[in-house]
């Protein structure tokens, strides 16, 4: 009996104009955004390779670059938005990369930012979730208004089987749309010889597919629930669209506003003051040593001890500044975490967090890069000190190439577990509510 319902439900959806229009929009967006994002990735990757080749690092100045993530083709996250180039000296560690890597030197044409904002995540988060709502808003309410609910239940059909059948049928169609969209994206990627995906990338893509499925199920069960409790389909659609706007746009933005008010960030003056205070114990010595160093340079005879102490004090100053900047960065992270915690009831926020993490295009990957930059700067300082201590040893050694460890796939999955669990719980709760409401529903 249940499969009769499932088959009918699937056929109903597949024949409906709303499904065909939704799928067409999805496929057009997916195709164009994937092609555009592949080209964008290829350009950024080429710029990265060129920049590494032409790296103008010398014994004083070192440039490091953040490579673009291949999965940014599907999930852009912050990969394009955050800077990719950092120039280090022992005098300074910038807290932020300086601009988009290659932007000034690249000969490649850049695509419009508006186009590049559309990616797989956008299609799932916005287009497919809307399609799910348009598919399911009348799942029960229209059956009631058309009299088919009574006609079905006049048979030997338990209500739970009817609801389950409708749920499974709709789910197949929704998942089918998601899988088709994913396959189209992947085929475009695979047919592009310049893009190669590692096995870990495939595992992450599976994860992206899984979390996208959970996200859509969340909206599907929500639509089913509203369709059960609201008898008029037009009202059900109105309620769902308002909920969608609230959950995807209003609520996350309200959370950001609330977090900004609840967790104040220090002002620029405060940060500057903190930097001064942090370096206060060294200030007197710093002034004395730098003056002596300049005098010695002018005379053309710089004692090694003085040069070494000069490097040490400058690096201490840079490190103290960096610590204050990092502290500010931590405050910013806390504020962001608070906003995310406050918006935990928004499936869209949970989805964004998980997909950015899985695609390695989120803040976590950026922070790993910045940690790598700091460790590289420490090596640079040691190398500079070696120059003042043992010039022969300095000449024999080279500063190692910049590298930072990427997050393992398993760890990526583990860190997104809360989002998986919460989205699953949302779906379960909404389905249970729909189920309970339907068992008690007046079907007349």
């Amino acid at each position: 009996m249940i499969w009769t319902i499932v088959k009918r439900e699937m056929l109903e959806y597949l024949k409906s104009a709303k499904f065909l229009i939704g799928l067409a929009i999805t496929l057009v967006l997916i195709t164009f955004s994937t092609i555009i994002n592949i080209n964008d990735f290829k350009q950024r990757h080429q710029d990265y390779l060129n920049a590494q080749q032409e790296m103008k690092s010398d014994s004083f100045r070192v440039q490091v670059y953040r490579p673009p993530q291949v999965l940014s083709i599907l999930i852009q996250g912050y990969d394009r938005k955050l800077g990719n180039r950092i120039e280090l000296t022992y005098l300074n560690i910038p807290a932020q990369p300086s601009g988009y890597m290659g932007q000034l030197t690249s000969q490649h044409h850049r695509y419009l930012a508006g186009f590049s904002a559309v990616d797989f995540a956008f299609v799932v988060r916005v287009v497919l979730s809307l399609m799910v709502i348009f598919l399911a808003y009348n799942a029960i309410s229209e059956e009631k208004t058309h009299g088919t609910l009574k006609l079905m239940l006049a048979n030997r059909l338990p209500r739970d089987q009817l609801l389950l059948g409708k749920f499974i049928g709709g789910l197949f169609v929704v998942m089918g749309s998601l899988v088709i969209s994913t396959i189209v994206s992947l085929l475009i990627i695979l047919f592009n010889p310049a893009i190669s995906l590692a096995s870990s990338d495939w595992a992450r893509i599976l994860g992206l597919l899984g979390i996208s499925a959970l996200y859509l199920i969340c909206f599907y069960t929500l639509s089913l629930f509203i369709s059960v409790v609201v008898s008029r389909p037009s009202i059900a659609l109105l309620v769902l669209l308002q909920l969608w706007i609230f959950l995807i746009i209003i609520y996350p933005n309200l959370s950001v506003l609330a977090a900004e008010n609840l967790y104040n960030l220090p002002s620029e003056q405060v940060i500057e003051k903190r930097k001064e205070t942090a370096f206060q114990p060294y200030n007197e010595e710093f002034t004395r040593v730098t003056r002596a160093f300049h005098d010695a340079v002018e005379k053309g005879d710089v004692p090694n001890e003085l040069a070494l102490r000069n490097v040490e004090l400058w690096s201490i100053k840079a490190e103290k500044n960096y610590e204050v900047d990092r502290e500010f960065g931590n405050c910013l992270s806390h504020q962001m975490n608070l906003a995310q915690t406050l918006s935990i009831l928004s499936p869209a926020v949970l989805y964004d967090q998980a997909e950015n993490r899985l695609a390695r295009t989120g803040m976590a990957e950026f922070e790993r890069f910045m940690d790598g930059v700091y460790r590289h700067w420490q090596k640079l300082v040691e190398w500079q000190k070696l120059r003042r201590i043992d010039i022969e040893a300095y000449r024999k050694t080279k500063l190692l190439d910049f590298a930072y460890p990427s997050e393992t796939t398993a760890y990526g999955f583990v860190t997104t577990m809360p989002q998986w669990v919460i989205l699953f719980l949302f779906s379960l709760i909404l389905f249970t509510l729909a189920y309970t409401a339907f068992l008690r529903k007046d079907v007349r």
Partner: protein
């Protein structure tokens, strides 16, 4: 007929809604195989509530409905095996063809063995034109939809049929065709309970006619009795009489 066991039976059936309205008040009726029972009454008299009680869409406050001697409240799923239902204005699934609609409801009714030809036969029986079989139902007139609705009831092949104002909104020709189908079903031995506003057709088709007012069955006449009485006059007299609750 009377010596056969009734297929549809209401025993001291009452339904009081949560807002206090007594929709059905101690109703007793029986519909035997090969019998058409017409329930007449104004809007809100309790006709549709009675049908809803038979289908277990709402629980009775007191009393019991039996379908094929099965207590509907105790074992609704088993009871529904023995009854078909045709409602007043069923839209069916507009994107599906007539045959697809029939196939779906036949399967829900437990008829999984039927072929395309079986569906065509049933649709021909209710005078649906062949060209309509594979047409989408959203293009159907109300009369065609009602014909398809009755073919859904026929294909289930249940001994009892519940009809909730099935001729409402039909033109005279379509209504007459509909009654002809009911006559055939009656002759096949189906027990038919039909709620209607249509006094003339109730007299024409009904083996027994009951008039409901404020939930009570205030009058019941057999076809034979009605040969000597004017049903219209009886009906109007009951409708004009003082409210029962005063």
């Amino acid at each position: 007929m009377a010596n056969q066991k009734p297929i549809l039976k209401a025993e001291d059936l009452s339904k009081r809604y949560e807002d206090g309205v007594l929709a059905v008040d101690h109703l007793n009726l029986e519909v035997h195989p090969g019998e058409v029972y017409c329930l007449l009454g104004a809007n809100g008299a309790g006709k549709t509530t009675t049908i809803n009680l038979f289908l277990n869409f709402i629980p009775p406050t007191t009393g019991t409905c039996y379908i094929n001697n099965i207590d509907v409240t105790r074992d609704p799923l088993e009871a529904k095996k023995y009854v078909s239902f045709v409602s007043e204005n069923v839209m069916l699934y507009g994107n599906f063809t007539a045959r697809q609609n029939l196939d779906f409801f036949a399967k829900l009714g437990g008829r999984t063995e039927l072929s395309k030809e079986d569906y065509h036969q049933v649709m021909r029986r209710v005078s649906l034109q062949d060209k309509a079989f594979e047409q989408r139902v959203k293009n159907f007139s109300k009369g065609m939809r009602q014909k398809l609705g009755i073919s859904i009831a026929i294909i289930k092949n249940a001994p009892g049929i519940l009809l909730d104002e099935p001729t409402a909104g039909l033109d005279p020709k379509a209504a007459e065709e509909f009654l002809e189908i009911l006559r055939e079903l009656k002759n096949e031995g189906k027990a038919i309970l039909m709620s209607t506003h249509d006094i003339f057709r109730a007299k024409e088709i009904g083996d027994r006619v009951g008039i409901m007012k404020e939930g009570r069955l205030v009058m019941e006449r057999t076809r034979e009795e009605l040969q000597y009485e004017d049903l219209v006059k009886i009906y109007i007299d009951y409708m004009r009489s003082e409210p029962l609750t005063v």
